[in-house]
């Protein structure tokens, strides 16, 4: 297997041009920590972003950072932290869940639209991604967006590329808007609530003026014997003081919350972000995105069909992380979702399972046609990551 490691955009264009027509598709590799996402790759050779590394633009006063696709995420985060800033969307680290090694790259964050608990309030990676440069399947260098956060010039190809899992092109550079790091962080924790109560609490809090930046519910057995319902506040210390008090008052019917700070708070949210509760097992792991109040309905329905299933809620209930026996019936997940709306993605399962099951939610026929058309418009010969998202695309 060939691994191409271009160090310039021109070299990357040449690599792509060299395989056009040769029937040797390319799989795209960043740090390799999320290679398990999507359907199993079917490419004979690989193009790596390892040779395209480094921050190319950072203007703290403009809240913008640009980096070559292979830049380690950690370097981006450290660079931002040095100036008191951060990526707004708290990207998940998949290493615990996949048991993978290596350094996550900033390119993969864009390509796979990787977000975390902050997504519920601050938007997904795609909401902060304001510019991309990529090489399409014709070997052409394409740019979309730029370095300013308000930009409606032409079709927003940035959004299309974000979350396309490499199927539309090879990213060479990405530009994100960033935010100041909060001056202080505190977590409020309620104990012993049912799923329905927990999500109701989260909904009420997210619909309050006190701006929780993250909202999760962990049923009993995941992080200790009791269920935990968590709200995270990020603000200046005086505001956190005030808002924590107001929230405790507003949510008085659920009991008196504990207040967590420092590593205790950060560690819990890291576990929520990375779904570490499901690390190291051989369960199949799904992500369900639905209306928050439908979260417990879907989880309960699936739990009835698949005894042994475990789950927890992020995004105020709107994201259900679900682990189930790997030989469990995958169709049960989507059946449970059907009357509720929303969608389900199979995140972790052996290759054979991910090849046999629809990893991403199947689309309505006209949208599948559009999807195939968009793939062809970027990559007419099907060079990049064939079948990664949908069979034949």
């Amino acid at each position: 297997m060939t691994i191409h490691t271009p160090t310039t955009e021109a070299q990357a264009c040449a690599v792509v041009k060299s395989v056009i027509g040769s029937a040797t598709p390319l799989s795209i590799r960043g740090g390799g920590t999320r290679a398990g996402l999507g359907r199993p790759a079917q490419a004979a050779s690989t193009i790596s972003s390892a040779g395209l590394s480094g921050i190319t633009l950072y203007e703290p006063a403009e809240m913008v950072i640009a980096a070559r696709a292979g830049t380690p995420l950690a370097l981006v985060q450290e660079t931002l932290a040095d100036r008191g800033q951060m990526l707004p969307f708290e990207p998940m680290d998949h290493r615990a869940l996949f048991g993978s090694e290596g350094e996550p790259t900033i390119g993969a964050i864009a390509a796979c639209n990787i977000s975390g608990p902050r997504r519920v309030n601050a938007g997904a990676a795609r909401d902060s991604l304001i510019g991309v440069r990529l090489i399409n399947g014709r070997g052409e260098m394409i740019k979309s967006g730029g370095r300013v956060m308000k930009n409606v010039t032409g079709l927003d190809l940035v959004k299309l590329v974000s979350g396309s899992h490499g199927t539309l092109g090879f990213l060479t550079e990405v530009t994100f808007r960033v935010l100041p790091k909060p001056a202080a962080i505190a977590t409020l924790q309620w104990r012993g609530l049912s799923d329905v109560q927990g999500v109701a609490l989260l909904s009420q809090a997210l619909g309050s003026p006190f701006e929780p930046m993250a909202a999760a519910h962990l049923p009993a057995g995941l992080a200790g014997d009791e269920a935990l319902t968590l709200l995270r506040l990020e603000n200046f210390p005086d505001s956190i003081e005030y808002r924590a008090g107001e929230l405790a008052l507003l949510l008085g019917e659920y009991g008196v919350p504990d207040r967590l700070e420092g590593e205790h708070s950060a560690g819990l949210w890291r576990d929520v972000r990375d779904a570490t509760f499901f690390a190291g097992t051989n369960e199949a792991v799904w992500r369900l995105s639905l209306k928050p109040t439908d979260g417990p309905k879907a989880a309960t329905a699936i739990g009835r069909m698949l005894p042994g299933a475990r789950w927890f809620y992020d995004w105020g209930g709107g994201l259900v992380w679900l682990a189930m026996p790997v030989d469990g019936d995958a169709a049960a997940v989507r059946t449970a979702l059907k009357p509720l709306g929303g969608h389900a993605t199979l995140v972790r399962a052996p290759d054979a399972v991910r090849a046999a099951v629809d990893v991403f939610q199947p689309l309505a026929e006209p949208l599948m046609r559009v999807t195939a058309g968009i793939k062809k418009s970027f990559d007419p010969d099907g060079i990049f990551e064939p079948g990664r998202m949908y069979a034949g695309i």
């Binding site: 300013v148 956060m149 299309l160 005030y242 970027f378």
Partner: protein
Amino acid sequence: MSAIAFPTPDAGILARREQILAGLSALVSPGALITSDDERRPYETDALTAYRRMPLAVVLPSTTEEVAAVLRYCGDQGVPVIPRGSGTSLSGGAIPQEDAVVIGVSKMSRILEIDYANRVARVQAGVTNLAVTGAVSAEGFFYAPDPSSQLACSIGGNIGMNSGGAHCLKYGVTTNNVLGVKMVMLDGSIVEIGGGHLDSPGYDLLGLMNGSEGQLGIITEATVRILRSAEGARPVLFGFPTSEQAGAAVAAIIGAGIIPVAMEFMDKPAIEICEAFAKAGYPMDCGALLIIEVEGSDDEMDAQLARIVAIAREHGVTTVKESKSAMEAAAIWKGRKSAFGATGRIADYICMDGTIPTGQLPYVLKRMDEIVKGYGLRVANVFHAGDGNLHPLILYNCNDPVEAQKAEDAGMDILKLCVEVGGCLTGEHGVGIEKRDLMTFQFNPEDLAQQMRVRAVFDERWLLNPAKVFPLEGRVAA
């Protein structure tokens, strides 16, 4: 003005007008089809009134199914279609052409569902921006994007243009606040993208639809995020001797980790125009004004303002004026939001919409002044300072064709300047016809061809809003 070209109308379509009208009338309820000259005239143009074309017909459907029937018919007949919301586009996004049918969504103006627990509202595309907030404000919620035209502009149009507003520094633009759409494709198929949940599966078609300027399909319904309003909000006026000092204060506030909900900038000519109109109490002895809005409880606002005032003092602020009542707060915003209308009272103007990296602000302000003076004209500047989205208003007399042409040329020079310093042609108004022929300054041929190939997936015959966004020459079908 006649600098922007329109495609030559298709003589075959014009010749078949009666037959096409008969076909359309069979598809929609009586009253939905507008054919007379008088009734069609309001649809000749939008807010870019210097350009106008009489459309073949106007259809105002009441249901998604009617939209689907009309779109399928037009597709079958090869008749161009111009989607229209409320017709408030400043870039000519809804201006028709003689051989096209306008499909307006103004009759589809119902709020379908409000779900406070899940913080979403489902609305028809013709609902006005402000009506969404109006429907949820009693419960303390609001819809965040707030373009200045929010009293009139529609949600469908907002999605088409990915509209912004004064408060997007904190809350984002339309694309960050729309979770789902129902839309009709050119072949008449009705599809739903997204819904009440976050992050649609597959390619981000929802993101693609936002800002697609009616070129991919017609949106008939949207599911939007509604947010709980802060406990209070307080706009404060900061007067600075110079634009440079105001710009430096903006950078320093952000650098200190403070993101006010809005930071609006006005230069001296804009202050004078707006104050004369709105009597907002703007200080008249300063070279530049910032309206900075903070949110939260009274104590929180006091604390945040104290931080901001301290920074402003380091940058030479000469006036700090807090709104002491809801009326004063409203007057401060009235002055800013009526900037375009107030300008229209003293002169004709064209409003530009480029975005620049905020670090380039002093240079760009100076260059813009030189450019406009070079044409013998005047400029007033209002803009969203936190995100670098400029709205220079170039004043001219529209009865003087030479001056009108100069104004348009000056505007184009300013937009090129925005691109040169690393910004873009349009931050929130859209490309429309206005900036169509400048696209080659921002994008190279490969970039544009890739966009056009994506467009062709939805409409390979260029029937949907065809004269917009992309230069008329060199169009790519697939």
